[in-house]
């Protein structure tokens, strides 16, 4: 009896798994077919305002970043207005799970969404011939031509064709970000307050300040310094020596401004000195050794716990935790002590380059796939999106609702508006969806009327968002915005060097994979070693690193940098 039961269950399991496979296919077909009639039914109902009435269509859009729930753009306010203008709706699907695996399957099946913005997997798609050439289409669309025109030489792939539009292109004057979105050495405000707002310029001063503070507050169970090391975010620790040397985030190389020579910095004295400092901190119990095993969520949780005195990270990467603390301080000024303050530091106190130069990221972008039926219409949609009114709409919103204009023509937001625009509102209105994933003006752009393109970069908006605590500390350092603390970025036409595309499976790419492996393995060992063993472990590491063809990598980069500089001169 029991045996029969056993076989019965097995058989049932088999049948179930077989039908489950079939089921998926059906689902996909159903959704595909059901969306089509729905959109065409809508089309007959409304009369489009534009001069060429067209049927409403829905295009599929795959986005390689999981930054929001999937959506039909016409379900958002901005998307609906754009649909009224063009009749085009996009069904955005965000990546779930591993991006490269997902894109790999797309390529293998040779069946693509109409529009793809594959983030880091863009080389794979270009390589597979998944994108159509946009060169001719760009010529036909005046707004696209206006915005991307100056960058066309840089947008060309190795074969001279243009396969995708990079996401951002600088338009107009450079408007600096008042907040710190790039790298900074962060420190709790109370540390500075207690020390009487000292002017800190070097890394050693910074670490000493932390050490003193922790020793004065022994009973609080504080952590002096932590690092983010999880998975691909490892650069948050590996990049520090580069910044301390006074270079911006060019990735794995420091590039000499005069000779244009690219040099890696992983075995230099700078890296050694940095790791030795961490090693010293670890020996004194000031460094959180769990930094090397914690994942990103655990790291953010620690940052928002108020127990961490200092850390280095990029603004965009630690924003979630810092915003939490800032919101707490906004509600209760006594919490201002725990808000983090950004500091530009170098080894010798000379000029920092932590702020990104106005760059043109070439290895990210949005393209039209070979599966798209009507590329011209998609391009027309983008062209329409890129006209100035629509750029204002997607960035500032609707006049009277999400922004207002004063007598001088300056855009501003009232306190109520700022309060209203929270995350749920961003999703509903579409600010979130039209924030960064479409052809658009670069964040630092300026509109023709002199207003900043990004509301956050408009000084009027920034000032309105400051709390008492913010004003106190900014005054103490004699600046109006956080970015004023940092040096102005020098002009580097190749920036960012990490954005220079590398071919799949090329020696450069293999070098990067292997280099990742070596530093991820040895940095923890070096930092957590007994101080007496430091030299020994460092020697082991340099020996291991020496096996990589670093000279070849640097040579390749130097060539690329020189090419980029030449290309920039041509324009």
């Amino acid at each position: 009896m029991a045996k029969k039961l056993l076989y019965g269950t097995m058989a049932a399991a088999l049948v179930l798994s077989a039908t489950a496979c079939g089921g998926n296919n059906n689902d996909e077909k159903n959704t595909a077919s059901s969306s089509a009639p729905a959109s065409s039914a809508d089309a007959s109902g409304s009369a489009p305002a534009s001069e060429a009435p067209k049927d409403k269509v829905t295009y599929s859009y795959f986005l390689g970043v999981a930054n929001a729930p999937d959506v039909n753009t016409n379900e958002t306010t901005i998307g609906r207005l754009l649909e009224e203008q063009t009749g085009v709706n996009f069904k955005i699907e965000h990546v779930v799970g591993d991006l490269k695996a997902k894109v790999g399957t797309m390529i293998a099946s040779n069946d693509y969404p109409d529009v793809i913005n594959p983030d880091a997997a863009i080389d794979m798609l270009v390589d597979a011939g998944a994108f159509i050439d946009l060169t001719d289409l760009i010529e036909k669309n005046p707004n696209i031509k206006r915005v991307y025109g100056p960058f066309l030489p840089q947008m060309k792939a190795a074969d001279g064709k243009i396969y995708y539009l990079p996401i951002t292109a600088q338009v107009g004057e450079y408007a600096p970000d008042p907040e710190i979105n790039q790298g900074a050495f962060w420190i709790q405000r109370r540390v500075l307050k207690e020390a009487g707002y000292p002017k800190i310029k070097t890394f050693d001063e910074y670490m000493n300040l932390i050490e003193e503070f922790v020793s004065k507050h022994k009973d609080e169970d504080l952590t002096g310094f932590i690092s983010l090391t999880h998975d691909w975010r490892f650069f948050a620790i590996a990049n520090v020596p580069m910044h301390l040397d006074g270079y911006p985030n060019d990735g794995n190389v420091e590039i000499d401004m005069n000779t244009l020579e690219a040099k890696t910095y992983f075995t230099t004295d700078s890296t050694k000195r940095f790791l030795q400092k961490l090693n010293d901190f670890n020996a004194k119990g000031l460094f959180d050794k769990a930094s090397f095993v914690d994942n990103y969520d655990q790291y953010l949780a620690k940052l928002s716990s108020k127990k961490v005195v200092g850390f280095f990270d990029y603004g965009w990467q630690s924003g979630n935790a810092r915003n939490l603390l800032r919101d707490a301080a906004r509600a209760d000024q006594s919490q201002d002590d725990f808000v983090y303050f950004p500091m530009p530091l170098t080894w010798d106190g000379s000029k920092d380059q932590l702020q990104d130069p106005p760059g043109f990221v070439k290895n990210r972008g949005i393209g039209i796939s070979v599966s798209a039926k009507d590329p011209e219409r998609i391009m027309a949609f983008w062209d329409n999106l890129l006209n100035e009114e629509n750029q204002v709409m997607k960035s500032w919103g609707i006049k009277g609702e999400t922004y207002d204009v004063d007598a001088n023509g300056r855009f501003f937001r009232t306190a109520e508006m700022i309060k209203m625009i929270d995350e749920p509102f961003n999703l509903k209105f579409g600010f979130r969806y039209f924030n960064f994933d479409w052809p658009q003006y670069g964040a630092n752009s300026t509109l023709a009327d002199g207003n900043a393109f990004a509301p956050g970069f408009q000084p009027e908006v920034f000032q309105l968002g400051l709390t008492e605590g913010d004003k106190t500390i900014l005054n103490a350092y004699g600046v109006k915005t956080y970015s004023e603390l940092f040096a102005k970025p020098d002009d580097r036409p190749w920036f960012p060097a990490w954005g220079i595309p590398k071919a799949q499976g090329s020696p450069e790419q293999i070098w990067e994979t292997k280099h990742d492996e070596v530093i991820k393995k040895y940095y923890p060992k070096i930092v957590l070693a007994k101080p007496a063993d430091f030299e020994k472990v460092w020697a082991e590491y340099t020996a291991e690193f020496g096996k990589l063809d670093t000279a070849g990598y640097e040579k390749w980069y130097t060539e690329q940098i020189k090419l980029a500089v030449e290309a920039a001169k041509v324009k």
Partner: protein, 323 residues
Amino acid sequence: MESNITTATSSVTSNKPTGLKLFFRKLVQQRMLVLMSVPFVIWLFLFKYMPLWGWTTAFQKYKPARSFSEQEWVGWDQFNFLFSDERFLRVLRNTLAMSGINLILGFVTAVILALLLNELRSVIFKRVVQTVTYMPHFLSWVVAAGIIQSTLSTDGIINVLLIKLGFIDKGNEILFLGIPKDFWGILGAGTVWKEIGWNTIVYLAAIATIDPSQYEAAEMDGAGRFRRMWHITLPGIRSVIIVLLILNIGNLMQSGFEAQYLLGNGMNIDYSENIDIFVLKYGLEQSNFSLAVAGGMFKSVVSIVLLVIANNVAKRFGGSRVF
């Protein structure tokens, strides 16, 4: 159905045709059976044999979206890359060690738990234990790894417990996931926790088929509980144990992927990286699909060899076997 089979046997004995003729006659007579198996044979062919065509990729420098005839053929290059890398030996060792540990730990604990559960008199307690032990099986590894990570973190329950019990001092918390050699053990223990209940199900079902009269007879002869377990229960499920063992040995090259990927980090990479992760890093992430296929092929071939060896060993010892 049964009548078909009986007529088949009777006709065979009367006429005794040979060769092809016999084959076709049987085919016709058993057409119902054959017909019923057709969908499964098609399924097997479509999903298990057709993909083997893809193995050709391993000998190419495969570029997607190019037709078969346009691919560049490179012979054994991908395999050379794989085997000449010093890391490959390491990941091979890790793969075998981790699946070996999982196989033995998982199998021993499951059999013991099944035996213990079988001896329980209180049905309610038995049900509760069963449910509790196989609950973690339904967690995905992402969740399970999160639980393991926070349990083992410096402020996790294990470190807190060690401090409270006075084994370590505060400030000297152990970074469990940062000790390379401990990784196998952590993974083994984690897998046992996650899968033990699930693994017992088959053994419990097998135990239930043992004739109760054997136990009664043994009891009359004065055999205690452990004697009965040893002489009746274990021999009774021996064939199931052996079959499962052989099948699992065939899976020795599959040490899993998610657990190592999620729990692995730079510090324990020497012990946590297995073939799957290696192939992911140097194959899929670099769009080198050919290398990924070569890795998969290597795994399959080794698996088949292991399976055949295990089966033959089982045959030699006179036990049951798979084929």
